[in-house]
């Protein structure tokens, strides 16, 4: 049973656009896709520009957090050292971990996706260029401000996982924890925006013929990566919302003596935190899966098994979170579940490692710098995996927990599993963007120093931990047997830094972005090595194998000569071919947005809203929030252009330029957004039920609950809202949408939704419930907060749809704006009803 079946239409081939192409076609492509010059580049949206900025920013955060790592090591070099004070040390290790995880690792792999995916898939750009640019600028502004808190001594200091009660108001009265909660919560929103872009891009903008079975492994990993973000990040976003509500308004979610529970934070955090490790690792593994076949000169062994392994790891990793909580007193059998799942996930991870080894064995590996980093990755990550299986065993973990053994383990996994592949990737893909490749000589120095330095720094930490040194201590007494090992670790860390420095020298000397690139110097087989321009490839190829450049030697020439699909701009705008999700057959031509400023303003003001809120400048924050909404509306106004005549892309294929319903990419993005919202709400429901299991005694009995008349009235209003949604929907399908009736239905329907929520809120309030009273009460009001969030989004979209309909930009045909509103509106109604069933029904169900 061969996994590789890639014979396409062999023999003579008719190209879609065989004739010579008119000279002005190329020129118009170049003008349409030209990037703004000079400082205006900030308004650019092209994925190449955005990808470069994204990666550069992520790398900057790697350097900054790396310097913090060095400071930590300096402080710990000798016992009783007084280089850093305790509070400074706490801020520094917290920022080191937080910045590495949230501002470096996740954004860096997302950046690689944004930079490489369109080229790899044969798309001209990602489907929502301005969304990608928005995510970038939000991250740049938010991240830099967050980092600067360190210089003012107000950085968070509760560790990167921010456990309450330490991070609650009582023990962290300063503003540091708020910076973490609002800053990181906000950056997660930007990561989700990127994930939506990546999912839709991978599933719907592949070159014709690039079926799921022919998609490059990096695209598969990016798909799994983005899918995991959709389900994992909402849990931590919910956790940050709850903790911030507790800190700001004294709603006691995590305060045990008032019916909350600090462990709830740990559950929510690690439901995100463990998958996050794989969110970081899987794309890095995908990069390795691209590099290994090229360097070995042979197709990847076990492509299908790797796809299986990716999906399995991505799913099983959601069942591991409690292994971070083995010492918290959870019942033995439950611990068994998580311990077993932690070991089961090693099976698919092992499959990947064996596939790489088999590929290396079946070809002949060229020992280039990328190969060296890959080998370094294999060795270090495997070691980290082994210590991982060790700490997955409960008795061992009870010994090693919170010691330097864990610090060693986590760096072997993260540095080995993500930083080594990233360096390999940078060396490997630079020739696709730069006039010159990076230097093999300097690269070897960089690798040697990083590899040796890493092991000298972190290998001894296993022992330091086993002989008792706890993590997160700013100093230690002499004579515990830790002195020598710590000194060695510090020397190693500086050697590692020297290696990173060698890389920087190499990069600065040789990296020259250019339209004339060094090109396919490794003889790779995938599409990103075709001649690449700001508009992607000149024409869009039809794909019939997994390594098209290997199986079709003429491909580069024909693509560049414009002999494949769409060698021009068919509509005079930026555009990309949208294909079906499984078989990648062309469905329509999507017009993409051009550079602009509104999304940049939206990013800055959104960041401003969160950051100003942190320092309690509420009025300014509100103004910034309003400006953010205004900017988003301005940005969205140009989107969804009117349909035009169908266009010919060559090869006898004529495509419509507009789509609505499940074919359109807007619909897909909205559905994914709803999955995000649903994951957030499921996390909430878990939290609600969880608090009941730990503190049922603080729950109200029947008499204290609101009577049923108001909740039933509220439900009635929600059903009325649903009826108006259906009304508006059926009107929208008429040839001539009756304007006033349509707008009234949207307007009153939204009001009914808001009214229903308000009435429900009133019911609880009148029953005498106050959010500060108990964990239970806080949870009830948190439900309202979540519902109002969605309802606010529905309200803004409804106003937008009404405005578009007045401006004649919303018709029965040009209807994506309404379809998206309808989806979210319907979702909001269902979630509100569910919330009412939960908050009114559940206490009655279990109550006395």
């Amino acid at each position: 049973m061969s996994a590789i079946r890639m014979t396409g239409s062999a023999g003579e081939k008719a190209l879609p656009n065989p004739g010579p192409s008119p000279a002005d076609e190329l020129r118009s492509l170049e003008t349409i896709w030209a990037s703004p010059k000079g400082w205006r580049i900030v308004s650019d949206v092209n994925n190449t520009t955005i990808g470069h900025f994204y990666l550069a920013t992520a790398f900057l955060f790697f350097l900054l957090a790396g310097v913090l790592g060095l400071l930590i090591r300096l402080q710990l070099a000798a016992p009783g050292n007084e280089f850093l004070s305790q509070e400074t040390y706490n801020q520094i290790f917290t920022m080191h971990g937080t910045v590495m995880m949230f501002l470096f690792a996740v954004p860096a792999v997302e950046a690689v996706g944004i930079l490489l995916l369109p080229a790899m898939l044969g798309a001209r750009d990602l489907p929502f260029p301005r969304l990608g640019a928005f995510a970038l600028w939000a991250y740049v502004v938010g991240g830099l401000v967050f980092f600067c808190t360190l210089f003012f001594g107000v950085a968070p200091s509760g560790g990167w996982f921010m456990y309450p009660p330490l991070t609650g108001m009582r023990f962290s009265p300063g503003v540091g924890a708020d910076w973490w909660l609002l800053g990181i919560g906000f950056i997660e929103i930007s990561a989700i925006a990127g994930a939506i872009e990546i999912i839709v891009g991978v599933l719907r903008t592949r070159a014709p013929g690039m079926t799921l079975a022919r998609m490059p492994i990096l695209a598969w990993t990016m798909l799994v990566f983005a899918g995991m973000i959709v389900f994992a990040f909402p849990a931590v976003i919910l956790a940050t919302i709850l903790l911030e509500l507790e800190r700001a308004f004294d709603w006691p979610f995590f305060i045990a003596e008032r019916g909350g529970d600090a462990l709830l934070w740990q559950h929510l955090f690690w439901f995100f935190g463990h998958p996050d490790v794989y969110i970081i690792f899987l794309p890095a593994a995908g990069m390795v899966s691209m590099i290994v076949p090229t360097m070995a000169g042979t197709p990847l062994v076990g492509y299908r098994l790797i796809v299986v392994a990716l999906i399995a790891v991505g799913s099983f990793s959601f069942g591991l979170w409690v292994h971070h909580m083995f010492t918290t007193g959870i019942p033995a059998r439950s611990l068994g579940f998580f311990s077993a799942a932690s070991m089961a996930v090693a099976i698919p991870s092992g499959i990947q490692v064996f596939a790489w080894i088999a590929t290396i064995a079946s070809g002949r590996l060229r020992l280039t710098v990328p190969s060296l980093f890959v080998i370094g990755f294999l060795l270090i990550f495997t070691l980290g995996g082994l210590t991982g299986v060790m700490v997955a065993m409960v008795p061992f973990d009870r010994q090693a927990h919170d010691s330097y053994f864990v610090v060693a383990h986590l760096h072997y996994v993260l540095f080995g599993g993500m930083v080594f592949p990233l360096f390999a990737a940078i060396y490997y893909w630079t020739p696709a963007f730069s006039r010159r490749a990076l230097s093999e000589r300097l690269g070897r120095w960089a690798f040697g120093l990083i590899f040796a330095g890493f092991n000298i720094a972190f290998l001894p930490m296993h022992i330091t931990g086993l002989i008792g040194m706890p993590r997160r201590v700013y100093t230690y007494p002499a004579g515990m047997g830790w002195d020598g090992l710590n000194l060695v670790s510090t020397i190693g860390a500086f050697m590692l830094a020297a290696g990173v420095f060698a890389f920087l020298v190499d990069f600065i000397r040789h990296m020259r972005l250019s339209s004339k690139t060094a090109g396919n110097i490794w003889q790779a087989g995938t599409l990103e090595w075709l001649p690449n321009h700001p508009y992607g490839t000149r024409s869009i190829p039809r794909i019939s194998s997994r390594d098209p450049l290997w199986t079709e030697p003429d491909l580069a020439r024909d693509v560049e000569a414009g002999r494949y699909y769409l060698p021009r701009s068919a509509t005079g705008a930026r555009e990309t071919i949208v294909t079906s999700p499984v078989d990648a057959e062309p469905q329509y031509l999507m017009r993409l947005s051009a550079p602009g400023w509104a999304h940049v303003a939206a990013a800055v003001f959104t960041a401003g809203f969160f950051l100003l809120l942190t320092v309690k400048l509420v009025t300014l924050a509100a103004m910034s929030g309003v400006l953010a909404v205004v900017s988003i509306i301005v940005w969205m106004w140009d989107s969804d252009p009117a349909p035009t005549e169908p266009v010919d892309i060559g090869g006898g294929i004529t495509l419509p330029t507009y789509a609505s319903g499940p074919v359109s990419l807007g619909w897909w993005a909205m559905v994914i957004l709803m999955l995000v919202a649903a994951a957030l709400y499921v996390s909430y429901a878990f939290g609600y039920l969880y608090l009941w299991t730990v503190s049922a005694q603080t729950w109200p009995d029947g008499a204290a609950l609101p009577g049923l008349s108001r909740p039933l009235g509220a439900a009635g209003m929600l059903f009325a809202s649903a009826a108006m949604l259906f009304g508006a929907h059926s009107l929208s399908q008429r040839d001539h949408v009756p304007g006033t009736a349509f707008m009234m239905l949207i307007g009153f329907g939204t009001l009914a939704l808001l009214g229903g929520l308000a009435l429900d809120l009133l019911a609880h309030w009148r029953a005498g419930l106050r959010p500060q009273a108990s964990g239970y009460a806080a949870m009830v009001y948190a439900n309202t907060v979540l519902q109002l969030q969605i309802a606010a989004a529905v309200t803004i979209m409804a106003a937008f749809a009404i405005a578009r309909s007045i401006a004649g930009r919303l018709t029965s045909e040009r209807r994506v704006v309404f379809d998206n509103l309808a989806l979210l509106w319907g979702y909001a109604i269902s979630q509100s009803l569910l919330g009412m069933a939960l908050t009114h029904g559940f206490p009655r169900l279990v109550g006395p």
Binding site: T211, F316, F318, G329, I330, L335, A340, V582, T693
Partner: protein, 112 residues
């Protein structure tokens, strides 16, 4: 319009195994704290065993459906292969979890 529907359905079908795994995991884990509070440890053992049998049966049925698709061509065949392997891996992971659970007593441990 209609052409994408069924292939997309097949794309989603590869997630069947992992979904069953996740549901089984959630049910047996969540049930422990709930049942221990109300009905006692034995009932959790019964639940664990029956959920496991049910999940394995579900995986088996899905595996048979996908097995028939192995005879098809191209992408459909590829996806069937992926789905089958995922059913298998999910089954193994699920038995791991159930085995560890049955080996340990319910409703005991540090929790007071």
């Amino acid at each position: 319009m209609t052409s994408w529907r069924s292939p997309a359905g097949r794309g989603l079908s590869i997630l069947f195994g992992p979904t069953v795994w996740a549901l089984h995991f959630i049910v047996v884990y969540a049930a422990e704290s709930l049942l221990c509070r109300t009905a006692g440890g034995d009932s959790h053992g019964i639940l664990l065993a029956s959920a496991t049998v049910l999940a394995i049966v579900a995986l088996g049925c899905h595996l048979r459906v996908e097995g028939r698709r192995l005879g098809e061509e191209g992408t459909a065949r590829f996806l069937a292969g992926v789905a089958i392997a995922l059913d298998g891996l999910s089954g193994i992971a699920l038995l791991f979890v159930a085995g560890a659970g049955l080996a340990l007593p319910a409703c005991t441990g540090a929790m007071t």
